[in-house]
């Protein structure tokens, strides 16, 4: 049912999942839909709450700035914006511990900034510059920061699900108390490798959490036109994988859900599928005119009633941990940081043509340790 509210004929949205929408209690007993009082959220200091708020703001401002840069012709290829979904990445990453890892699809700017990548390297990557996180090789869809347990940024829909499984496998093999958060879209649930991965995750009991960010659309195709049966999280059920559905506009709820799934993974190494209902304000990519598959009203309703940043801001104001002036400062500095990153990117050099041949093989990047002989490349620069 929570899928339906994504169809162009709008329906009112249930504030929290009904009991039929999970086979496992991924959320503490929250009668009134207020997750601020659950243990994991109680543990947050006022400072930490403000940091979480500013992270969401930073992500949004960064992407708005990147959109302008795209329109100015500084960014090529695809640009998939995360605007509207910020609470999912920020909330999820905020409950990770040091041995937990993240992998996601091509809509990866939010996750990248949430794990702590800085705006400069991200914006520079969008500009295709040498100073980009992937040295201009990857672009918007392919951000990486292994040092921050962030494994990309993957362009092929669903292609990252077996990779996430493998990260979890390696953690278990090395007896680390960690798990992998594998983010994916609602449309990605229609790629076969996801099911092969669900079976393996359950069969081998691997600490992986598949987080379906259900923004209601696979490009221009609404959930009800691309997927039979609801909710999508239930697709874990026949494999005995824990599953549940949550609302993604409430950062507190996201933290609660992901936190519980992570402890389940840490303690029992059990996998989970969490469906987090969210929404993207912009077109699928900047190239999408966004005129064929949803109404302006639908978008406006979300912005008005479900904006994760506004909702969290109101909560923090009510809790008295944030003031309007603080909020304005946070917004101001996020804008400044974004502008600075665009300037940094603009000022950065493009990769040198010879860099085309870097990073193809570990071996060719380490001539001193080369063990093979013969010719590796058949048309070079």
């Amino acid at each position: 049912m929570e899928g339906l509210h994504h169809d162009t004929d709008l329906e009112t949205v249930s504030e929290k999942p009904t009991s039929t929408e999970q086979n496992f209690d991924h959320i503490g007993d929250v009668s009134n839909g207020d997750f601020s009082k659950t243990a994991i959220n109680q543990s947050l200091s006022s400072e930490e709450k403000v940091v979480l708020y500013s992270q969401m703001v930073r992500i949004r401002r960064f992407e708005e700035r990147s959109l302008r840069a795209y329109q100015q012709g500084h960014i090529g290829g695809f640009l998939h914006l995360y605007i509207g979904q910020e609470a999912v990445a920020v909330g999820a990453v905020s409950v990770m511990s040091s041995d937990d890892h993240v992998i996601t699809a091509y809509r990866d700017h939010g996750h990248a900034l949430a794990v702590g990548m800085d705006m400069d390297e991200c914006m520079a990557e969008l500009f295709g510059k040498k100073t980009g996180c992937s040295k201009g090789k990857g672009g918007s869809m392919h951000f990486f920061a292994p040092d921050k347990n962030f494994w990309g940024g993957h362009g092929i829909v669903g292609g990252q699900t077996p990779l996430g499984l493998g990260i979890a496998y390696a953690l278990k093999y090395n007896e680390k108390k960690g798990a992998c958060l594998c983010f994916m879209g609602d449309g990605a649930t229609n790629q076969g490798p996801f099911y092969e991965s669900l079976n393996l995750a359950s069969l081998w009991n691997l600490p992986v959490v598949f987080v379906i960010e259900n923004n209601g659309y696979s490009m221009g195709t609404s959930e009800s036109r691309h997927s039979a049966g609801e909710p999508l999280a239930k697709r874990g059920d026949p494999f005995d994988v824990n599953w549940s559905v949550h609302q993604g506009h409430d950062l507190y709820e996201v933290r609660e859900a992901i936190g519980n799934a992570l402890s389940l993974a840490h303690e029992k190494q059990s996998p989970s599928v969490l469906e987090i209902v969210t929404y993207r304000y912009r077109g699928h990519s900047v190239a999408d005119p966004d005129q064929t598959y949803r109404s302006k009203e639908e978008i406006e309703e979300y912005k008005k009633n479900k904006d994760p940043i506004n909702l969290f801001k109101d909560k923090l104001l009510a809790e008295g941990v944030l003031t309007e002036t603080q909020a304005q400062e946070i917004d101001k500095s996020a804008k400044e940081e974004s502008d600075a990153s665009a300037e940094f990117a603009l000022a950065s050099p493009f990769p040198d043509p010879t860099e085309l041949m870097d990073h193809i093989y570990w071996e060719s990047d380490h001539p001193e340790d080369k063990s093979s002989e013969g010719t590796l490349f058949f048309e070079t620069i």
Binding site: G136, G159, S218, E355
Partner: protein, 326 residues
Amino acid sequence: MAIITYREALNQALSEEIERDKNVVLMGEEVAQFKGSYKVSEGMLEKFGGERIIDTPISEAAFSGLAVGAAMMGMRPVVEFMFWSFCYVAYDQIFNNAANIRYMSGGLINVPIVFRGPANGGTNVGATHSHTPENFAANTPGLKVICPSTPADAKGLLKAAIRDNDPVCVMENTILYNLKDEVPEDKDFLIPLGKAKTVLEGTDLSIISHGRSVHTALQVAETLSEKHNISAEVLDLRSIRPLDVDSVINTVKKTNRVLLVEENKPFCGVGAQISYLIQDQAFDYLDAPIKRVSSIDAPQAYSKALENIQIPNHDRVLQKALELAS
């Protein structure tokens, strides 16, 4: 003849064949309500309805295989891949089922299906979205492969592909979608597969190419004649399998020097096969080794600063042409 874009030419071919034959349907991601992610099928849903223009989930393996099964039953599905790169998640359905079922059934079955979509680099979409699998498909007996380079070819070849009784892989190019040129309106305008086209007559060397590289070849030929007084002949293969070997050999016999230009990665690319054929059948006519310009042998780079060099561009092709002609 009307002057229309490559995109419109594809749309005409699809529309005409759908009108002509009830067995023809178009299916793929975003082809209907969204009008095609590159707007190739614009207006077709309104015109032909959801029975004939079908949106699919992101399940390339399933809808490719579904189309093969339907083709076994006598339908003539046209499957659109948003990018040919995505054939990697449907590989078995195309390269085993579509390609082998006729053979494995001793000829009891045929599979009249078209797989189509763009297969090119040059738009900064990175390594996973820039594959050019024409060499993989052409390596596979049972499959046919065409790479139209002009609006007219796009229409005539696609129409022929849809009427073909075998599986045909049609490899288009997003950068050519806006290319405008004259296109015949005749509803039976067909270009036979396996017929190359001499797009420029010349005497000093032959540039053999396919897809968008043909246009690069033509620009280089212009530079060669204007700045270097070298007369280049340009042959557009148009079809990779079947291949117009005669036209290839004829131009070699005429100019005695060959430059192969393609977007394929070099190792076992189309140019490799053409080289073998030429030296095998026209050995004594070659005044110099066959030269190639392909994509630089690296995964496709995102940064335009890199990708503009990676794909065969005017300067890289010109340089090789001059080496060859000297």
